[in-house]
């Protein structure tokens, strides 16, 4: 057991010191969770190659207990969004996220997943996966080196360490809500934003100078 786990704040008799550890429930709960985070085998783009390298012999994320990559979201704890998130892919990512059981974590690996990166201005690129799903750790870099990825994983472990079994969301009633899956329309549409979209496109309709609005008004009238 790790040294940080055994913090009894309580006097253990010397004859028992070699065979007994005393710890808190939170600590052992978090220790066991953070030492076997199973990432989903889910590669999007360039960063996925560095993720594979991090799993290979030189860097070896097995040291964190994280080498068990599961191809199915239903068996994984961690979604490593490793690469550019496109609008065409976004509904599928949300569905995968919804299929993951709690407790679940998301790491946005690299510039693209964190904020669009070099492809931000592209018409088919999401400016950061956090527009749709909650992200726990952001890793900068294009692509982040395996060392940077490992730093991100350690940061995630630290975050897990701070959680308490009494307060975590997955033991609360009705806390685990599913995220509505975006719809591919003329552009990607978040079902939560339909009102905003309608309001804005109608506003554009009122614009008298815009020739496109004139055509659209005529179509609506007829």
């Amino acid at each position: 057991m790790g040294e940080d786990l055994n913090k009894p704040e309580y006097e253990i008799p010397p004859e028992l010191k070699s065979s007994v550890s005393i710890t808190t429930l939170d600590r052992i709960y978090n220790w066991s969770r953070r030492s076997s985070v199973w990432p989903m085998m889910f590669g999007l783009a360039c960063c996925a190659i560095e993720m594979i390298c991090a799993a290979a012999s030189r860097y070896d994320i097995a040291r964190f207990g994280m080498e068990v990559m599961r191809p199915s979201p239903r068996q994984s704890d961690l979604m490593l969004v490793s690469g550019t998130v496109t609008k065409k892919m976004m509904p599928l990512i949300v569905r995968l996220f919804n299929q993951m059981p709690e407790p679940k974590y998301v790491i946005a690996m690299g510039a693209c997943a964190s904020g669009g990166g070099p492809f931000k201005e592209g018409y088919n690129v999401i400016s950061g996966v956090d527009n749709y799903i909650p992200v726990d750790v952001y890793i900068p870099g294009c692509p982040p080196t395996p060392q940077a990825l490992m730093n991100g994983l350690i940061t995630l472990q630290k975050k897990i360490d701070t959680q308490s079994i009494r307060e975590v969301r997955w033991y609360k009633k009705g806390a685990s809500e599913t995220i509505p899956v975006p719809v591919l329309g003329p552009d990607i549409m978040d079902p939560r934003e339909y009102d905003l979209i309608r309001q804005y496109t109608n506003q554009k309709l009122q614009n008298i100078d815009d020739p496109a609005a004139q055509v659209a008004r005529q179509e609506k009238g007829s």
Binding site: M41, G43, L44, A45, C46, A48, I49, E50, I52, C53, A56, S57, R58, P71, P73, G83, T86, K88, M89, L92, L96, C112, G116, P118, F119, K120, E121, G122, Y123, N124, V125, I126, S127, P143, T145, V183, L184, G185, P186, D187, I188, M189, E193, Y194, L196, I197, R198, Y200, T201, N202, K204, L205, N207, D210, A212, A213, A216, R217, E219, K220
Partner: protein, 580 residues
């Protein structure tokens, strides 16, 4: 010089005097063919002139002239320069006959041109959008189509230069997101397409087969885009009879990151780091092709030492790519991760050299127009020397020893996913895929570029065209790459690495150029059109991964699902390049 374009081909002009005209714009080559007679001309090009290989099909939007142009580059599979023909049509009614019946390799490229430019190809068997989804508003590569974060047509943007201010693109968008909607659009009335055309096409194929004999139940399965053996976000829709594949339709575009649209906003040099991210396993080869295309437009050549550095880096890239390809192919076959670990061990050593020389492990951004960015740092020459003369030959032999005669690999690979040489050429496949089918088509030999004509190496060819041969050919090619590196290291002179001063903004004269290299995955071509401004007017990437999967259905039909996985693995696709 690579990919010269034939300017005088009297046969073509004599045969079709009325509707074939030489392209007389300054800096342009090839012929302009009227769209009504395109099929006849293409048939003559294929059957009489012997240009059996249609390399690239792409659209160019000449907005000021109101024209939409389709550019075709034909080659002979026996080697030699290109024959470029163009067909011009009205922008608002862009209809061009499809060449799929003559050159099946045009299939995905024509679909891409329809998707991005809105050029209709009359007679195309399955003209659906390729990279975007059905229902997407507009055709984004048209010059008058603006993305939601649109600021200006070309960089550097006035808000950033000369006295730049920090601003977020999100703040200028009403949704604070990268989205835009047409005027008066009502989201509640929208019915998503959900690939209805694709599924009904598959059902039609199935039902037409049903008419003869017993009725069979088919199951339609979606493999991907989240699937461990599709090498990224690739999706195949398959119709299965038991476990046997009856129909297979690839669906791509899940990693379409608008490389070409961004490329036309960027300045010429700004595109260099973006090319790294095309085929992200072999970034230096991508740099090579783009540098060649722009250098051809500018009419410059790099100094000797830079040429050698380019070749060394490109060949190391090929080795690292093939190691990775073999590793993941064996993963797909079920040798879960063990061969991959051996392959990545060697790849890491090559990446160390890249990191020391270029500053980055993967995204090297090393080539410049007329040279390379940096010389080899101290101590790296010795490292390269050790690797090329000692370690890599030994390790490739080791890989060969462990894997090649393995009973499992033979049983899984031999006779599976066969591609005949005729099909390989007709489907425009390139690289290891075409050479494993017995066609010795290697651009380093067929149409030499850079200094490849100085080296003594063999073009690896295998003759069965199955998965096993596509594995073997990668081992062969690694050996040849080591030979090239060894010769280059011995011959490399001292001297400058950059022609003239390094420049941030290069002056590119108006014209067009098609630069192509033998990338690890196949023929990587860049079609660049300049109008004399700092930004390219058209920037197109002929991605080998995309075109190599055109015959995937043909190779997979009648095989089992598990075989399709290794057939895909043996083609070796990278989604960054496939979707761009």
């Amino acid at each position: 010089m690579s990919a010269q374009i034939i300017t005088k081909n009297s046969d073509l002009l004599e045969k079709f005097p009325q509707y074939v005209k030489p392209d007389e714009r300054t800096g342009y080559n090839g012929y302009v063919v009227s769209s009504d007679h395109l099929i006849d001309v293409a048939r003559a090009i294929r059957d009489e002139l012997g240009y059996d290989y249609l390399s690239s099909v792409t659209g160019v939007d000449y907005l000021p002239d109101g024209l939409m142009e389709v550019v075709y580059h034909f080659f002979k599979s026996s080697g030699g320069p290109a024959l470029a023909i163009k067909s011009q049509v009205d922008r608002n009614n862009a209809v061009v006959p499809s060449l799929v019946s003559l050159y099946p390799g045009a299939d995905f490229q024509e679909r891409e041109a329809w998707d991005l430019f809105g050029i209709q190809f009359a007679g195309h068997p399955d003209l659906r959008r390729l990279l975007l989804w059905e229902g997407f508003e507009g055709h984004p590569m048209r010059k008058d189509w603006h993305e939601p974060y649109y600021e200006e047509d070309g960089k550097p943007f006035k808000s950033r230069w000369p006295d730049g201010k920090i601003s977020l693109a999100e703040d200028k968008n009403p949704f604070h997101k990268n989205i835009a909607f047409p005027t008066g659009f009502d989201p509640d009335k929208w019915i998503p397409d959900d690939d209805s055309v694709l599924y009904s096409n598959i059902k039609n194929i199935i039902s037409s087969e049903d008419e003869s004999g017993l009725k069979t139940d088919y199951v339609i399965v979606n493999m991907g885009p989240q699937h461990p053996s599709t090498h990224g976000v690739f999706r195949m829709v398959v119709a299965l009879e038991g476990e046997t594949i009856r129909v297979l339709k690839p669906v791509v575009g899940y990693l379409h990151r608008n490389h070409e649209k961004i490329g036309e906003r960027n300045t010429f040099l700004q595109n260099m780091p973006y090319t790294d991210r095309l085929d992200y396993i072999s970034s230096l080869s991508n740099n090579f092709g783009y540098a060649l295309a722009v250098e051809k437009l500018m009419g410059i050549k790099p100094p000797e030492r830079a040429e050698y550095l380019r070749v060394i880096m490109a060949e190391f890239t090929r080795i690292s790519n093939h190691l990775f390809a073999i590793g993941s192919l064996l993963n797909d076959m079920g040798a879960y991760f063990t061969p991959m670990l051996y392959a990545i061990e060697e790849r890491e050593l090559i990446l160390d050299i890249f990191e020391a020389t270029t500053g980055s492990r993967m995204m090297c951004n090393y080539f410049r127009f007329g040279g390379v960015a940096r010389d080899l740092p101290e101590g790296i020459y010795e490292k390269i020397h050790d690797l090329a003369f000692e370690r890599l030959p030994r390790k490739i032999d080791e890989l060969d020893l462990y894997l090649t005669n393995s009973e499992i690999i033979k049983a899984r690979g031999e006779g599976v996913g066969v591609l005949t040489p005729e099909d390989a050429i007709a489907y425009s496949t390139s690289g290891p895929v075409v050479r494993a089918s017995g066609v010795p088509y290697d651009i380093r030999r067929a149409d030499p570029y850079s200094i490849y004509d100085r080296f003594d190496f063999d073009v690896a060819v295998r003759y069965h065209g199955d998965v096993y041969d596509r594995y073997l050919i990668r081992v062969d090619e690694m050996r040849q790459s080591v030979r090239i590196i060894q010769q280059a290291l011995t011959q490399m002179p001292k001297g400058p690495i950059q022609e003239g001063k390094p420049q941030y903004v290069v002056k590119v004269p108006p014209g067009e150029a098609y630069g192509r290299v033998e990338a690890p995955k196949g023929e990587l071509g860049y079609y660049v059109v300049s109008n004399g401004k700092p930004n390219p007017w058209r920037y197109h990437v002929r991605a080998p991964s995309l075109i190599n999967i055109t015959p995937l259905e043909k190779m997979s039909l009648g095989n089992k699902v598990a075989d399709t996985v290794i057939i895909l693995g043996s083609i070796d696709i990278v989604l960054g390049e496939l979707d761009r």
